[in-house]
């Protein structure tokens, strides 16, 4: 009996279960979103480099970039990238402090997870409002 249970380890959960169906504490959700945001930015590096190139190369390519960037779908995508970067950035800095042994006890770690969500979402809203709208 116990052998069967052991064989089922490690147990892999899909993203939906991690976020919504098991009652994972906030720091766990922060952590999986840190991974998701990092991978998301990685996957978008080529289009981002391409857009950056267009924006700095010539007045014509800049005009093309500006036209593309003004499209509502692109704005939505940019909003997603801005959130991903800010979440990854804030959560990353939190991890760096944890690595240094700062804020490791449970209460402090939960508090800093709340702070990361509040700060990254607020900055996302601010930047989207100032730059995209």
């Amino acid at each position: 009996m116990s052998e069967m249970r052991i064989r089922k380890r490690p147990k892999y959960l899909d993203f939906y279960s991690i976020m919504f169906s098991i009652k994972l504490p906030l720091p766990g959700k922060l952590s999986i979103l840190h991974r998701v945001s990092g991978v998301g930015i990685f996957l978008l590096l080529a289009p981002l480099l391409w857009l950056f190139q267009a924006s700095v190369t010539s007045p014509e390519s800049f005009a093309w970039f500006a036209r593309i960037a003004a499209h509502p779908c692109m704005k939505l995508l940019f909003a997603g990238i801005i959130w991903a970067f800010l979440h990854h950035f804030c959560a990353g800095i939190r991890f760096l402090f944890l690595d240094l042994g700062v804020g490791v006890d449970l209460a402090a770690a939960r508090r800093s997870a709340v702070i990361v969500f509040v700060v990254s979402l607020a900055l996302t809203a601010l930047i989207c409002w100032r730059v995209l709208l």
């Binding site: 991978v39 990685f42 590096l45 480099l49 190139q53 800049f62 950035f89 760096l96």
Partner: protein
């Protein structure tokens, strides 16, 4: 017998440390470039381009990009190690990831030094 997997962890601090060092470089650059953008408020192509054509900004932007690519390499490699078990597939993915990021490094250098 040697049980080490060629595409397993490197059993050392080096990558862990490099991921943190590159994270620090990227954090400083992010604050630095946001400060520049807030001060200069680039509203047209000429100002936008001149920011990155500036020698020091170009240099630090390139360092940021290299840090990002190295950081991403370690992060994505960890991802393959977590989710992809067959050694052959994992090795292939590792090589593809390195090639992709090496290509991006050349690309960003070309973009910046053409300015």
């Amino acid at each position: 017998m040697n049980n080490r997997i060629v595409v397993g962890a490197h059993y050392g601090l080096k990558d862990w440390l490099a991921q943190r060092a590159t994270a620090a470089v990227m954090s400083f650059y992010s604050v630095f470039i946001v400060a520049i953008l807030l001060v200069l408020k680039p509203a047209d192509f000429e100002i936008w381009r001149s920011i990155f054509a500036n020698g020091p900004v170009k240099f630090f932007t390139f360092l940021f990009a290299l840090s990002l690519f190295y950081h991403a390499w370690i992060g994505i490699r960890d991802l393959w190690m977590d989710y992809v078990k067959p050694v052959s597939v994992r090795l292939t993915l590792h090589v593809l990831t390195i090639l992709l990021l090496a290509g991006y490094s050349g690309w960003i250098a070309a973009i910046l030094w053409r300015l």
